[in-house]
């Protein structure tokens, strides 16, 4: 690690000189030109849009748009991993992931598999709420919003060891 830090520091010191390595052909990028999927919702909720949805709202949406892969209750598939409690996959999204914000971002950018980025923000909040409710993390009436979603305490949070922080690029 220390040698890498030294190398990085050396690179920073010579940054001005190093810029000469490239022809400098990058074009200015305006904020309005950056699509949402070029960022990610952070654990503190930064990046969450306006909107809201409850598990009750999400139930019908889930049946229409998600159940064909993830199963009627979220536990039976056929497509793995299941999003609900189950005995097949030890890492269900609604209980294993350390932050609930990841649910919103991933559903919004990637689901459904055949039509990613087709869900509205309200629909995405509702589906995140439904999955959390299926896993017993929230109740059916609590709306998920930019304020409430980052406050959801995930049950497996705190059960992760950060290997990079502990030993850098040394394989575990």
């Amino acid at each position: 690690m220390s040698i890498f830090n030294l190398a990085t520091a050396a690179l920073m010191l010579t940054a001005a000189a190093a810029r000469a390595e490239g022809p400098g052909l990058g074009q200015p990028l305006e904020t309005a030109e950056i699509p949402f999927y070029a960022t990610y919702v952070k654990p503190d909720g930064t990046g969450l849009p306006e909107g809201s949805g409850t598990a009750a709202d999400g139930e019908a949406l889930y049946a229409a748009k998600c159940a064909s892969c993830h199963g009627a209750t979220g536990s039976e598939g056929p497509v793995m991993p299941p999003v609900g409690p189950n005995d097949i996959w030890a890492k269900p999204a609604g209980s294993y992931w350390p932050y609930a914000t990841t649910l919103f971002d991933y559903i919004r950018r990637a689901m459904p598999l055949e039509a990613p980025k087709s869900l509205s923000d309200d629909e995405t909040y509702a589906l995140a709420a439904y999955i959390l409710e299926r896993n017993g993390v929230i109740d059916a009436e609590t709306a998920m919003t930019a304020e409430t979603l980052p406050q959801v305490k995930m049950p497996n949070h705190g059960n992760f060891l950060d290997v990079w922080a502990r030993q850098g690029a040394k394989p575990w």
Binding site: A18, V41, A93, R109, P116, V163, W164, A169
Partner: protein, 427 residues
Amino acid sequence: MTRSGNDSAALEYAAGGGLLSRRMLLASAAAGTAAGLLQPRGARAEADIPEWTKAAGARARGYGTPAAAEASVQRAIIEPWQDVAPAFSLSGTPHHRLRGTITPNGLHYEVHHGGRPDIDPARHRLMIHGLVERPLQFDLEALERYPMATAIHFLECAGNSLFNAVMPEPMQAGCDMLHGLVSNTEWSGIPVKVLMEEAGVQPEGKWVVAAGADGPSLARSVPMEKIMQDGMLALYQNGERIRPEQGYPMRLLLPGFEGNMNIKWLTSLWVTEAPVHTKDESGEYTEILADGSSLQFTFAMGVKSFITHPSATMTMSGPGFYEISGLAWSGAGKVAKVEVSADGGASWAEAALAAPVLPQALTRFSLPWHWDGSPLVLMSRATDETGAVQPARADWKARYHASSFLHYNAIQPWQITAEGAVQNVYL
């Protein structure tokens, strides 16, 4: 595999099970040449001259393809959910049908979480934004004008060899299915640090969230330290433009790091102060340990090897001389040595490594072997330059939860039966 009728009495043994001294490679090659010279001449009649030797060959073609007789050399495709979700697939490199170390472009392994997008290169762009002084975007035409670097590196899916990790009984399949999610390529492209320095990374920018232009916009948080050390924006793969399966028109290459982080179809590098806990680093690419806790941000692949010749699904062509050959690599650097055992681990002999031995690259090892026809177990054990050694399967399993299968790097034993069948076994 080659075989000759060497007199076993003259062989120089290096370990049990018929493993020969590495010097025997040269000796047997010389013997082979001598034997060739002694073959009687004139045994073939004129009528035996094959037709291709008596005719003009085919016309030139713009892009060559493998010989027709090699058409069966294909990736092994696994679509776990078949037609329900065909966009999720694994395709393993058929290492048991290949030699050398460079993986042909059409046989590089693939893992797709959302299928292979069809990208118009004229409309593709790379954005660098977030904690930078100058948010920038680059099109392919601009990137082509940057100085390029070239390096040979393996890519390995964190889930490579997953069947050995989780199947209660060893699956009988070839190296394509068992260990095919690793490949090796000469990559050419732009050091990402050149682009980062053009954008001007702010002091608090310690991580980079890389995202692809595929349907799921797969994203991973990457330490800035790695990006600046040896991260590459790869545009070329073994000299030609990166294949669509590998991220056309551009991918991120992070030498030694798990395949999933080497974002294909790269469109965005977002500089942040901390990792953002994307879906793949929250569940799919974390590892549950035996005590129920989990590892997160496990980036580099461990030291690993397996014997490709002979390997499971092959059949030995009788007792005699063979060359044992296989592949070794480490995400931590160079392979330091590979030992081979032909008696189930009771004794080991050091294999020869084919030069050049490069860091974070597949390394070919070999050792001559005289098989006397009796049943035995072959295996290889790699050590990298940091001193890390491949574990036995039982030792690997003891560290992880029973369901864990990522970063599996245990020793691969192959059972040779008296009938000459080569089978996957656990030891």
